[in-house]
């Protein structure tokens, strides 16, 4: 099997400061990788470089055989609308707040060429249902939704075009614990059923344990440890990972 994404020696600096450096890994179809680390560890910088939101200083991000770092901007934008999806921590960054819920989902479909109003609306309704938003809210704007609903809407908007790779930045970040569990269950089901590959950045170890097959631990811009998620969490080898795992408060 060919890797879907090959990340080779990614380095990004901000002046003299290191954002992230020496990051390499292969992601295979259907694999979900978690990236954990404290604030400032470089995990969000890395995600931005991978998703094409930031230009790395060196390195390659090869998707399906093409280097997305050197490809032309229009080509990368096309990728972002079709094979890729990006779920922001704050749903406001990933949604159009002035457009209805149905419009938010439909817009992404239209961006890939859907034109029939009836089909678009039916698909949007179907997706609202999949993310547990009642069909009678289809004409409401996201600003009338709760935080958890907004996040689910953002997920529907992102997944409606059937992407192959989803980037997620703290997808359960600002949510209540009760809403988090529901969202996690939903995400897990969608990822499994659609056979998606995903890269999830979070600082929540419980989230990666439930969602990610494999885990990468970052500190100071470097990858300090990576492996099978439960192995890294239950038998951490690096001093920093040991500290991270032993610092989690027990409920």
């Amino acid at each position: 099997m060919q890797p879907l994404l090959q990340v080779q020696n990614i380095r990004k600096t901000y002046g003299a400061r290191i954002g992230c450096t020496d990051v390499s890994f292969d992601l295979y179809p259907g694999e979900v990788m978690g990236i954990v680390g404290e604030s400032g560890s470089g995990k969000s910088t890395l995600l931005s470089c991978l998703a094409g939101h930031a230009q790395p200083d060196t390195g390659a991000v090869i998707f399906d055989g093409r280097d997305t770092v050197t490809m032309a901007e229009p080509e990368r934008r096309m990728l972002a609308r079709t094979d890729w999806a990006y779920v922001h921590q704050n749903p406001r960054d990933g949604l159009r707040m002035g457009v209805s819920a149905g419009g938010n989902v439909g817009e992404r479909l239209m961006a890939v060429g859907a034109r029939n109003y009836g089909t678009i609306r039916d698909t949007a309704t179907d997706w609202l249902g999949r993310v547990e938003i009642n069909a009678d809210r289809i004409d409401d704007r996201p600003s009338q939704f709760s935080g958890g609903m907004q996040q689910r809407l953002q997920i529907a908007r992102n997944l409606v075009t059937g992407p192959r790779l989803v980037f997620m930045d703290e997808p359960t970040g600002g949510l209540d614990v009760s809403v988090q569990a529901r969202l996690l269950d939903l995400l897990r089901g969608l990822v499994r059923r659609m056979g998606l590959s995903a890269i999830i950045v979070t600082h929540d170890l419980a989230v990666v344990r439930l969602l990610a097959d494999r885990l990468m631990v970052m500190k100071g811009g470097h990858v300090v440890e990576q492996g099978l998620t439960d192995q890294v969490l239950d038998d951490p080898q690096h001093a920093y990972t040991q500290l991270l795992v032993s610092s989690v408060l027990q409920v």
Binding site: L184, L228, D235
Partner: protein, 217 residues
Amino acid sequence: MIDVQNVTKTFTLHNQGGTVIPVMQGASLSVAAGECVGLVGQSGAGKSTLMRMIWGNYLAASGSIMVAGVDVAKAAPREIIALRRSTMGYVSQFLRVVPRVPTIDVVAEPLDTPDAHEQAGALLTRLRIPERLWGLSPTTFSGGEQQRVNIARGFIAPRPVLLLDEPTASLDAANRETVIALIEEAKAAGSAIIGIFHDEGARDRVCDRVIDVTRFA
């Protein structure tokens, strides 16, 4: 089916003065299809550690752990995940699930067939979990009920390799009999089984032989 050769394991506690705890060296064992091997030794001897290394949950420092042709000690995460999805099952002592997922879905998950829910229901019935609980999350269940949900989840899909950590602990006599029957059925179907049983009666009934892990200390 399972062939462990010369496995060494140490824990290094970097944040506690770099203390190195050697827990195992030269661990070797092999289990054939249709055979059940019991691990014995007092608490702390390394029974669970050895089992977790076979599951891929703990990293072996050296040696090889062949399970159905894959060396778990060196395999990439995706190879271990593939092994766990289709070949190797593990019944741990603790149930770990996504909150709010109904029991019936938790049990049916490993089985990828259209009748997965029916089979899950049949197994839950066999393990005496009343039907009115099937739609609820097992996180709210009693210890013994959670244990039985865990067992149902572990036995629902036929697995050529099964790892059982105290499967009969905290069960009443009737449920214990059911679990022993499940283990015997898995053996008859050709599963290679490694088990930890403090329940000596159960161990004597299902294990073809036992291995004392204290000799790997």
